[in-house]
């Protein structure tokens, strides 16, 4: 039985609430305005994993999120930001957390997402045309939550993802690009959500993922790079989706994540001793949830939302 100690749940909740109520007069608030909606997703999901969601100002948050929607149906990172796929996904995920998906104009979102698919099956991040396997995952996940995968060419999306598969079993951002744990998560997530995992050599990919674990127990993003807590999510959830969680040493990884906590101010950092931030707090908590931490809600590896939300239908 793995030990999850020390793990100061209340301190982490405090940290997250403080982060959520960022001083609107601060420089940090200004600099992160364009991606506020993704910040909201990381913060709120973390709070929900810690069983604290009912303490948030649900109505204010939901109405702010809804005000980020554009005519096109897509959401921007904040009220006066241009719509894009990643922000649209974050918006849908947040509404899913609050079980208020019915308040969305779902048809408009679906048509916005579908409009971003190209003839090779890949998705653009927005109307400007950047292609990256992350965007395909965002599109497929968004439509999976709304149960509208029928609106796009799933078969072509899968073909594009497969074209990003590399010789080492990993996936890159575009065909031929270096295998990277973040991209692997997006690609495996897409294959999982579209029932297409059988199309790859799962052993080979599982192997590449398992090789991310370093002697300190942490996971890295690519060979010969430093461990980082965010990979505790991306690598781990991929292994879970491939049914190979036991291919790494769980107790060493738990130790690494716990050592990356800020036991004074709360939150989790990228590495032991560094300053915590909301991004890494989310990934650290999500990783611990996958590893069976009893104080956390169970998170779904593909949806990156609590399992109870997914299985409610």
């Amino acid at each position: 039985m793995d030990s999850f100690s020390p793990f100061p749940v209340d301190l982490h909740q405090q940290y997250l609430f403080k982060a959520q109520n960022l001083d609107t007069k601060s420089w940090e608030y200004f600099l992160t305005a364009h991606k506020r909606i993704s910040g909201a997703y990381w913060t709120l999901t973390s709070i929900d994993l810690l069983h604290g969601l009912e303490k948030t100002d649900e109505n204010a948050i939901v109405s702010w999120i809804l005000s980020c929607q554009h005519e096109s149906g897509g959401f921007g990172g904040n009220v006066d930001q241009d719509p894009n796929l990643l922000s649209t996904l974050s918006a849908v995920q947040c509404l899913a957390l609050y079980r208020r998906l019915h308040e969305l104009n779902q048809e408009k979102i679906v048509s916005y997402v579908a409009s971003l698919q190209l003839s090779d099956g890949s998705f653009m991040g927005d109307i400007w045309g950047e292609v990256d396997s992350r965007f395909t995952y965002a599109a497929i996940l968004c439509l999976s939550i709304l149960q509208r995968l029928d609106a796009v060419r799933v078969d072509k999306a899968v073909e594009f993802i497969l074209s990003c598969l590399n010789f080492d079993g990993g996936f890159g951002c575009i065909p031929g690009a270096e295998s990277h744990s973040g991209q692997v998560f997006c690609c495996i997530g897409t294959l999982y959500l579209t029932d297409s995992l059988h199309r790859i050599d799962q052993e080979l990919t599982g192997w590449w993922l398992a090789e991310r674990q370093l002697k300190n127990g942490g996971l890295n993003g690519r060979p010969d790079k430093k461990a980082d807590v965010c990979y505790s999510w991306w690598v781990l959830s991929s292994l879970v989706m491939l049914n190979k969680l036991d291919w790494i040493d769980s107790s060493k990884l738990i130790e690494f994540i716990l050592r990356s906590q800020d036991l004074e101010n709360g939150g989790i950092a990228d590495y032991p001793g560094d300053r915590s931030d909301v991004f890494h707090t989310f990934f650290g908590l999500a990783g611990l949830s996958l590893l069976g931490c009893p104080q956390l809600k169970k998170i779904h590896p593909a949806y990156a939302l609590p399992v109870e939300i997914i299985s409610r239908e």
Partner: protein, 310 residues
């Protein structure tokens, strides 16, 4: 000029921009209203520039002054993607080469300061499709990589350029970076890409594979713990070890000298499986499971089960 903010000190540049936008000062002040009632932490210039930009954006004003204002906004916060979107709207309408060239200079400067900024890298690709300037892109990515040899954006951008313009001769570039750090996984990936994937009309001969396998082996001589070199070798061989007899023999010769090296043993395991020598493969499996690669016990257990007679 600014009746309600007379006591605020602004930089000359900011004042100049506000002067350019006299006709919409009221809109800006309206936009900033909520901020006035409380003291502000951050430099007021940033606030004013941001407000100016947002007003021009709302008005969809794709003008020369909008270019100036959005430039100031982007310098304050290069991650503000709406600002980059806005500049593309202006550039796309103008279609002036000189303007596009100027924009590239801006990307060079901001890109050097913010080498991991997604927006700037994508903006370069937007410009490149008009300017058709692969050489400049190669030079820029090289500059970035000389500072950070593993910058993921730089490598994938360079690959994008190489593929789009079907450029030759990039093996030398990968070699240059491997000479600097023979463990650089990005450089190994780039090598594989330029030699085996990038040319639409490439023919992969056995000769080519053998020469690349020997290159990887040469690098491995310097350290048999080099993960990426092993991965490269495995891929080039692609489970056809019988076509690479001397390297196969060399791996076997290493077993004694490199007793504790899991990568050597894993390679030998693959070779044995390839040859169909299952009981010997099983012995290696056990060794990996219990001594050399205990983190991956479950993986090796599975391998053992695969091999056992059914």
């Amino acid at each position: 000029m600014l009746p309600l903010f007379q006591d605020v000190e602004l930089k000359t540049d900011t004042k100049a921009l506000l002067e350019l936008c006299q006709d919409i000062i009221q809109d800006i002040e309206e936009y900033l209203k909520p901020e006035r009632s409380a003291p502000i932490d951050y430099e007021t210039d940033f606030l004013w520039i941001s407000a100016l930009f947002r007003i021009l954006l709302k008005r969809k004003e794709y003008s020369e002054r909008a270019l100036k204002v959005s430039l100031a906004a982007i310098q304050n916060n290069p991650a503000d993607y709406s600002c980059w979107d806005f500049r593309r709207q202006i550039l796309r309408r103008s279609q002036q080469m000189s303007l596009l060239q100027q924009e590239l200079e801006i990307c060079n400067e901001l890109g050097l300061q913010n080498p991991k900024n997604y927006q700037i890298w994508f903006h370069r690709r937007f410009l490149c499709t008009f300017l058709e300037n692969p050489q400049e892109e190669l030079e820029f990515t090289e500059t970035i990589l000389l500072e950070d040899a593993k910058n993921y954006h730089a490598w994938s951008h360079r690959q994008w350029v190489v593929y789009r313009f079907q450029l030759l001769g990039e093996e030398a570039f990968s070699k240059k970076f491997l000479e600097m750090d023979f463990r650089n996984n990005s450089a190994w990936n780039y090598r594989y890409f330029v030699i085996f994937l990038s040319m639409k009309t490439a023919v992969i001969s056995l000769e080519l594979r053998q020469s690349e396998a020997y290159y990887a082996w040469e690098i491995l001589q310097r350290s048999f713990m080099n993960e990426s070199a092993w991965y490269y070798l495995w891929q080039v061989v692609d489970n056809e070890w019988h076509l690479f007899p001397s390297i196969t023999q060399a791996v076997q010769n290493l077993l004694e000298e490199q007793k504790h090296n899991r990568l050597v043993r894993i390679t030998w395991f693959n070779i044995l499986m390839n040859k169909g020598e299952l009981s010997e493969a099983q012995a290696i499996c056990n060794q990996l499971k219990t001594e050399l690669d205990t983190f991956h016990q479950s993986f090796w257990n599975e391998q053992l089960m695969i091999q056992s007679p059914k």
